[in-house]
Amino acid sequence: MTTDLLKSLDDLKGIWLMGGSAIDRAPKLWQDAVRDLEQQELALVALAGQAISFALQPMPTRQLVVSPILPALPLPATPEPARQMIRFLLKVVKLTEAQMADVIRLLTARGYAVNPIDYMPRNYSQLPDLYSVWEAWDRAEKAPAAGTASAFQNVSALQNEIDAENWDQWLPAERRMALAELRRQRPREVRELLADKLPTLPAEERFRILELFNDNLCPEDQAFLEGLMQDRSSKVKQLAQSYLARLGVSTCLDEDSIEFAQFFTATNVDLNGILKITANPLKTPAQKKRRAVLASKLSLQCLATGLKIASEEQLVHGWDHVDPQASDEFVRMVAATGSEKSVASLARRIESLDGISAEALQLLFQRLSPQVRRELLPRVLSNDDATFAATLMCCGNMLGEIAMEQLVPTLAFNELLKICREEASANVLKKDKLRQGLYTLGLIAKQSAASELLKMFTNAGLFASDPLLSVLKLNTCLPHNDCLPRGDDL
C-alpha cells in the first residue's frame, strides 16, 4: 500500500516538475475524489500535499553518524546561580575567549567545571588539563568520517593505562593526560615509552608531551633528555636543553659563555666573598639585541661559568637590579634553566626587581611549588598596579585565594577604590583600569573577600547591578567544593 502510494507520488511529482496534467497518473481513489471538483489539478495537489505530510518522512541519504557523548568532567557542573552569572558574562559583558579561560580556571580552583550548555571552549590551550577530554571529543566530533569518533569511544571505554600497544588509540589531549598520570606513578616506564614512540609524532605534539617533564624533573631523566638533543625540531631541542640545564648539565659553547659574560661585571662586595653582578651599560641597539639572543639561548650555569662564579645561587644572590631589561632577561633565564633553589631564591627577591615584565614574573612563578607561590603572592600583590595584572599572571591556576587582609593594605587596592569614588569624573584610562582591576579582583579574591569587595565598591559609588562587578558576583556564587581535589592538583 505504502509502496503504491510512494510510486504514485513519484509519478505526480515527475509530471508537475516538468509541467502538465497528472490526473491520469493519480491513484484511482484520488481521481474519483476530485472528479466533480473545479480545477481538479489543484485538488490533486492538495491531496498529494496531505499524503506527503502524513505518509512521507525525509530519510537520510547517507548513514547517520551520532557524535560521541560529551564526556563528563571529574568536577561537578557549576551551581545554578553561578551559571546565571556565567551566561550574563558571556551575553552582556561579552568576555573574550582568553577571559573565559581565566573564569574557567577560577571555577576549577573552586572545584567546578563549566556547563557545556553555557559555554563550550573553542581553544583548550589555556584551560586546565581536565578539559582535555572535551578537546578530544571536539576533535572526534570534527572528524567523524576519519574514524576518530570511534577511537574516542574506544579510549573512553577502555579507561586503561597507556602503553606501547594502545598508544595509537589515544587522542593527543588524552594521551598527554595519561602520560602525566603514568609519570607521577612510574616515570621510568614513561621514558621508555617516549623513547620508542616520541619520534613518530609531529613536532608540536612532541613539544607538548615534553612539557610534562616540567613537573618532577629528576636526574634519571637526563639520559632521555640528552637523546632529544638530536631532535629535528629546534623548539623541542631547546626545551630539552633547558631541562638539562636545570639538572646542572651544561650544553653551551665556551665562546658563547665568554661573550655573554662580557655583558656583565662581577665585583666582590666584601671580604666574605659576597658578589655583585651588574649589567654593563650598552651603547647600541645591536648590543642589546645580541645580549637578549644569548640570554635566551644560554643557561644560568653557562653565565656562572663565564663569570667564573662557583654556583648559580651565588649569581642569583648577587644580581644587581640596575637595568630593567637585563633583569627581565635574567629572570627569564632563571625561570627556564635555573635549579629549583635558584628559582625560589630569585622569587623571594621579587620586590627588588621593579620594572620587570609580568610575563617574566609569570614564567618564574610557574616553576614554584604551590606552597612557595602562596607564600610569595602577597609580595607580588604589594608591588602590583591597580589592574592586578602581575598578580593574576603569577597566580597561575591558584585563583580565588587572596584574602581581604592581604588586599586592603596594598597601594593597588586603594588606588582602585579611589578611581571608583571619582568614577564619574575619571578619564577613559582610569575607567579602563577600574574595569580591569575589578575583573581581576573577581578572579583572585577568596569568596569571603569577594563579598566584602562587592560591599566596598558599591559603597564607593558603583551600582550593585553594575556589570563591572559581575566577576566578583560570580566569585561569591562559588563556594569551594571541598569533596573534591583542589584546583591546582587537577
Binding site: 505526480l12 511529482k13 508537475w16 516538475l17 516538468m18 509541467g19 502538465g20 496534467s21 480545477q39 489539478e41 489543484l42 485538488a43 495537489v45 492538495a46 491531496l47 498529494a48 500535499g49 496531505q50 506527503i52 505530510s53 502524513f54 512521507l56 518522512q57 525525509p58 530519510m59 537520510p60 541519504t61 547517507r62 548513514q63 547517520l64 553518524v65 551520532v66 557524535s67 560521541p68 557523548i69 560529551l70 563528563a72 557542573a77 546565571q84 550574563f88 552582556v92 559583558v93 556547563n115 557545556p116 550548555i117 553555557d118 563550550m120 571536539d138 566530533e141 567523524p144 568614577e423 564619574a424 577613559v428 551600582f463 550593585a464 547591578s465 553594575d466 556589570p467 563591572l468 559581575s470
Partner: protein
C-alpha cells in the same frame, strides 16, 4: 536625581505622550511593578501578544521600553515614571531580573558612563502639563442615527473586502494552476519573480496574510535542502489550495480569514466570550525572530503548559524592522503564571496573555519536570492535520534522543533509532554531544526547528 513630575513633563516629547501615559496609569495594565535601588521597572500589557518591558534609572533618568514606539521616551516609560513619582510604595522591592541587568550592562558597554543625563531638546520644552493630561476627555454623545450609518458602512466595507479577497483568491488559484502547467522546476529555480507579481496582486485584493505567505515562499524554499524542495513545495501549494477553497466555502470563518486577510486585534480576542482560555503555568520554550520581505519582524514566542489542557501556545508579534533590534519580552526557561486567550481555531495555538499572575513557587519547581512525550511524536502532527489540514508549524515534544549527522544535514534521532527527523538549522556544537532527555521542537512537515529541552547537563536551548 530625584524623580519629580516636572522632570517627567520636561522629558515628555509632547502633550499627546503625556495624555497617552495618563491612560496607562491603571494597575490592571501593569501586572508587574518593581524596584531595586535606583532601578524601576514594570511590564505593561500593550496591543501585542507579549507585554512591553519598561525600565528606567532614577539616577540619570535613562530608560528603555520594548514597545515599537518612535517617541522617546514612549508613553510606557512616562507612565512608569509618573506612577513611581506619585506612589513609589506601589513598586515592590525585588531582585533585578535578567532583562534589566542586560539593559544596564549594555548601557555601560555602549556609552561607558552612568552619569550621562539625557538632553531635553529645546522644542520639547514647549507647553506640556500633567494636569492637562489628567483632564478627562469629554465623552461624546452617541447619535443612534450616526451609529446605524457607521454600522451599515462597516458591513458594506466588510462585504466589499470579502468580494475583493474572493477575486484575489480566484486569481491565486489560476496562478497555481499555471505553475503546475508550466512546471514546478521553473518555480523552484526562479521563485522570487514568479511569486512577487501574485503577492502584489493579493495585496491589492486585501488578502494581506496570503500575500505575505506568497512573498515569503521564495526565501522559505531556499531554506529547504534541494533534494526535498519539490516535496516541500507540493505540501505548501496544497495547503494554499486548501485555505483558498475552505475560505471560499465559509468567508466568515475566523481562522481562515486570519490566514487569508488580517487577524483580529488583541482586545477583540480578549473580548470574545467563546474564545478558549487557559490559566496555567507556562514555560517559555523558545523564541524565533525573522525579518520578512515586507519589512516587518515576526517574533514568535513558544510557550509550554506545565498543567492540564492544551500543551502549547504561540505568542506572535509583528513590528517594523526599521525600529531596530527589539529586546525579547521573555527569556527561554522563564515560567509565568498567566491566563491565555487563544485565537479561535480548529486547533487553537496562537494566543495572547490576558492576565499575568504572581508565581508563588520558584521557577525550578516547574522547569525541572517536563511532561512525558509520546513515543510517536508525529501522531500529534497528524492529529492536528485532521482538524486543520492547512496547518504547517506544529509544536511537538520529542522523546529521548540524540542529534546525528548525515553529510552536512543534522538529524534528531530517537533513542531506539525508530524515528529520525531532519533539523532545519545547524545546532551549536555542544548540543551534538548531549543526551537529549526530551526536546521541544516545531515540525513543519519537512523539518524540525529545535527550541529547547532537557539533557544530562540540565536545560538547554537551541539559541544558547
Amino acid at each position: 536625581m530625584s524623580l519629580s513630575t516636572s522632570k517627567i513633563t520636561e522629558l515628555a516629547p509632547d502633550q499627546e505622550s503625556l495624555n497617552a501615559a495618563n491612560k496607562l496609569m491603571k494597575p490592571n495594565k501593569w501586572p508587574c511593578l518593581a524596584q531595586h535601588e535606583h532601578l524601576v521597572w514594570g511590564e505593561c500589557q500593550g496591543s501585542g501578544a507579549n507585554p512591553y518591558r519598561t525600565v528606567f534609572d532614577q539616577v540619570n533618568l535613562g530608560y528603555k521600553c520594548t514597545c515599537p514606539s518612535r517617541k522617546f521616551p514612549c508613553k510606557h516609560v512616562l507612565a512608569l515614571m509618573w506612577m513611581f513619582a506619585e506612589a513609589p510604595s506601589n513598586f515592590a522591592p525585588a531582585d533585578v531580573p535578567t532583562w534589566v541587568s542586560d539593559w544596564v550592562g549594555r548601557r555601560r558597554n555602549t556609552d561607558g558612563s552612568n552619569s550621562k543625563k539625557p538632553e531635553v531638546p529645546a522644542s520639547n520644552k514647549q507647553a506640556k502639563s500633567l494636569i492637562a493630561a489628567q483632564l478627562a476627555e469629554p465623552e461624546k454623545a452617541i447619535d443612534p442615527e450616526i451609529e446605524a450609518r457607521r454600522k451599515a458602512a462597516s458591513q458594506k466595507r466588510s462585504q466589499a473586502t470579502q468580494q475583493s479577497i474572493a477575486t484575489g483568491l480566484e486569481e491565486l488559484q489560476q496562478w497555481l494552476a499555471d505553475q503546475l502547467r508550466s512546471g514546478l522546476s521553473t518555480l523552484v529555480s526562479d521563485p522570487t519573480s514568479r511569486c512577487r507579481t501574485i503577492a502584489a496582486r493579493l495585496v491589492d485584493a486585501k488578502a494581506q496574510a496570503m500575500a505575505s505567505r506568497l512573498d515569503e515562499l521564495p526565501s522559505r524554499i531556499l531554506l529547504v535542502p534541494s533534494e526535498w524542495r519539490i516535496d516541500w513545495l507540493i505540501q505548501e501549494l496544497g495547503r494554499i489550495v486548501l485555505i483558498c477553497r475552505a475560505w471560499m466555502a465559509d468567508p466568515d470563518d475566523a481562522e481562515l480569514t486570519r490566514l487569508v486577510g488580517s487577524s483580529e486585534t488583541r482586545d477583540s480576542i480578549i473580548a470574545l466570550n467563546d474564545a478558549p482560555r487557559l490559566c496555567s503555568v507556562w514555560e517559555v520554550i523558545g523564541e524565533q525572530v525573522s525579518t520578512r520581505r515586507d519589512g516587518l519582524v515576526s517574533q514568535s514566542t513558544w510557550l509550554m503548559n506545565h498543567g492540564d489542557g492544551q500543551r502549547f501556545a504561540l505568542l506572535l508579534d509583528y513590528f517594523p524592522a526599521s525600529l531596530g533590534k527589539r529586546s525579547s519580552s521573555f527569556s527561554v526557561g522563564e515560567t509565568i503564571l498567566a491566563e491565555l486567550v487563544f485565537y479561535p481555531a480548529r486547533h487553537p495555538l496562537r494566543a495572547v496573555i490576558a492576565e499575568r499572575k504572581q508565581v508563588d513557587a520558584p521557577n525550578a519547581t516547574f522547569s525541572d519536570c517536563w511532561p512525558i512525550p509520546s513515543s510517536d511524536p508525529l501522531s500529534v502532527y497528524r492529529d492536528v492535520l485532521k482538524l486543520s489540514p492547512w496547518s504547517s508549524d506544529v509544536p511537538l515534544l520529542l522523546p529521548r534522543g540524540r542529534l546525528a549527522q548525515s553529510g552536512a544535514q543534522t538529524w534528531w534521532q530517537s533513542e531506539d533509532e525508530s524515528l529520525c527527523l531532519p533539523i532545519m538549522d545547524k545546532p551549536q556544537k555542544s548540543i551534538l554531544g548531549l543526551e537529549l532527555h526530551t526536546a521541544a521542537a516545531v515540525w513543519d512537515g519537512m523539518a524540525l526547528k529545535l527550541l529547547s529541552g532537557r539533557s544530562q547537563w540540565g536545560p538547554w536551548s537551541y539559541d544558547n
